[in-house]
Structure formats: C-alpha cells, structure tokens
Amino acid sequence: MITINAISNYIPQQSVDINARAADVGIEQDFINNKLGIENLPIKSQQQETSDLGVEAVKSLLESSNLNIEDIDCLIVCTQNPDEYGLPHTSAIIHDKLGLHKQIACFDISLGCSGYIYGLKVAQGMMLANDYNNAILVTADPYSKIINAQDRNTSLLFGDAASATWLGREGSWELGKALLNTDGSGHRNIINIDQKLHMDGRQVFNFALTHAPKQIIDLLELAGYDIDHIDRFYLHQGSKYIVDSIRKRMKLAEEKVPANINQTGNTVSSSIPLLLEQDLDNPDLKNIILCGFGVGLSWGTILLHRADVK
C-alpha cells in the first residue's frame, strides 16, 4: 500500500496588483470577482527560482511532519518552468539546496495541471518497483516567469505556489485507481512561445468540460463506486468559472467541490495539493477524487481512500 502521509505548501507573500493589471488589460472588477474568482495572486520575487519555491515547501513538510530527511528515498519535481531552462533538472538543485544524502533518486516530470495526479502514480510506481518507503512529490510551476502582463486571457489567472507531498507506506490516504489520458492534438492550446504563455481559453474550457467529468465517471465505474460514495471532488482550480461549470455539469453539491482559487489563482500542478492539504485530517472524508486537466492536453483522475476505512 502506498499512501499520502502529509502535504505542505509554500505560497509567496508578494502579490500581483490585481486592480492595476485589470485596468491595464481592460477587465472589469465584476468579471474578476464572479468569473475568474480572483482576490489574490501570489507571485515569487525576482530572485526566487523554481527550486526555491520547492525548497520552501519541502522544508515546511519536514518541519510539520515526522519524516526524517535521511529517510527520503525519492524526490520527484513536477514543473514546466524549471530552473536554468531545465538543465540540470530542478530536483537536483533542490537536492543540493536541502543537503539531501546521495542514496536518493531525483528526477523531474514535465506536466502542467494534470501533473499532481500523474506525479502521485509515478511516485507510487517508483516506490513499488524499488521497495522505497518514502518519496516526496514537489509541484512548483511559477507561471509568472512566462506571463505576458498585457494578455487579458492569462494575466489575471495564474498565481505562483509550490507543494510537497510525502508518500509513504502507512499514511492516512491510500492511493487508489487512476485514469491518465492525453490528447496531443490540442497541444497548441496552452503553449509557451518565446518564453510567453499563450492559451486558447475557449478550447481549454471545451476540453475541460468535455473530458474531466467523463473521466471521473469512467473511473468511478472502473473502481465500482457510485458518485454518492465520494465525499469530495478536488478539481484543478483552472478558474472559478471552470470549476463551477464542471460542478454544475456533474450536478455535484457545492460543499463537495472545494475551491480556493480566490486566494491563489490557478497554481497549475500545485492547485490540487493546496486544496487537499486543508482536508487531509478531516475524519469525515472516506473516499475522495482528485482530477487535474490542462497542458498537453492531458488529464488525470485518481481515487484516494482513507487507509483505515474501506
């Protein structure tokens, strides 16, 4: 059994001046409040690198849990905005900054908003294949590196953050079945061209509304669960509008679909662990769904079960 034992996050203190940026690109406050749902957009400092965000998240994890730094077998970093253009891999830089021992596997995975789901399954596979006891999955994808402040499609959507998830053998949440899918024909719908993010909002919206609900239903069928058996649905926080639209399309109760995009914006692969951290110790939750969708186009859904309840 592979479990999620603990999650910690790092959110930069500094924030984008939302009103000034909205005025720049001609977006009205009502649209920001009701459709984008943004009240705060954290942004890293100029001096901070992607690895620094990851380091802060891992430090927080080590401080808040009983994981010993010597017991880490594997460190996986999910990012598409790495340090140094990806060479070397950011996980190696985090390894250095944390002073980790050498008997440890470190590597990066390149995925966007589905990255947390994929990362959990990659970590699970590594642990089972190599008899590892402890892995850390870091998500750190600061889009501020590639945001064009004049682009009204994206400039008020993304925030910077990082997460660190401790995967072990005896934690409270067991990783269950997952579905991982790709439609490469849509790869240009979210793309970095000349170090600037370009996004076809309508195509991404259509993709999310069409594929995420279906994948959730397919996974529930595969795992033999009824939708009423699921206590919470943690959806990637693409935008308030996307989350609300998926929830309505699936006819899910509002209290079953947590949201925090107002405080962080879309933090890419960190959005789900940011949400999940708040509920990890909630004893009322027995079976939950995580669903991420975005860059690729790529989407993934996983079931988590409270380890002491089946």
Binding site: F31, K35, D200, G201, R202, Q203, F205, N206, L209, T210, Y241, D244, S245, K248
Partner: protein
C-alpha cells in the same frame, strides 16, 4: 442540422447566466443582456453537443444572438 430559439433559450438558462432570458428576443445581442464571453463559451459548447456541429474559434464573433446561432447551425 437545426436548432430552434426555445432550445437555445433553455441552453442559456442552464448556463447560469443572470440575463433575463424570458424577455430576450431572438435578435437581441447577448452582450446587451449581460451575457459575457465565458457564458457564450458555455452556450456554444452545449450547442455543439446538441447539434454535433463543430464551431471553430474564428466563427465565434458572428454568433452574437439567438438568431445568429440558429442561422449558423442551419447553414452547416
């Protein structure tokens, strides 16, 4: 393939927009009735799914009213 005004009004209602659908005529512009670009994305996704007509991005700007959608779908 066809779609009628009532079907489109039902889709608009389902989209959750605050617009006053009952008093909207087929030729009223969406933008004049508080239906914004995100609402239009939702409405057109539903129209696509109900009619099986794929609406490319470059055609979106002309779909500014119920009548415009009816005419567009009829032409496909």
């Amino acid at each position: 393939m066809t779609i009628n005004a009532e079907q489109i009004k039902d889709i608009i209602k389902e989209s959750g927009t605050a617009a006053d659908i009952e008093n909207m005529t087929a030729t009223d512009l969406f933008a004049d009735n508080g239906i914004d670009s995100l609402d239009i994305m939702t409405i057109l996704l539903e129209v696509q799914e109900q009619t099986s007509v794929k609406i490319p991005d470059q055609d979106i700007d002309q779909l500014t009213s119920i009548q415009a959608i009816i005419d567009y779908i009829k032409s496909k």
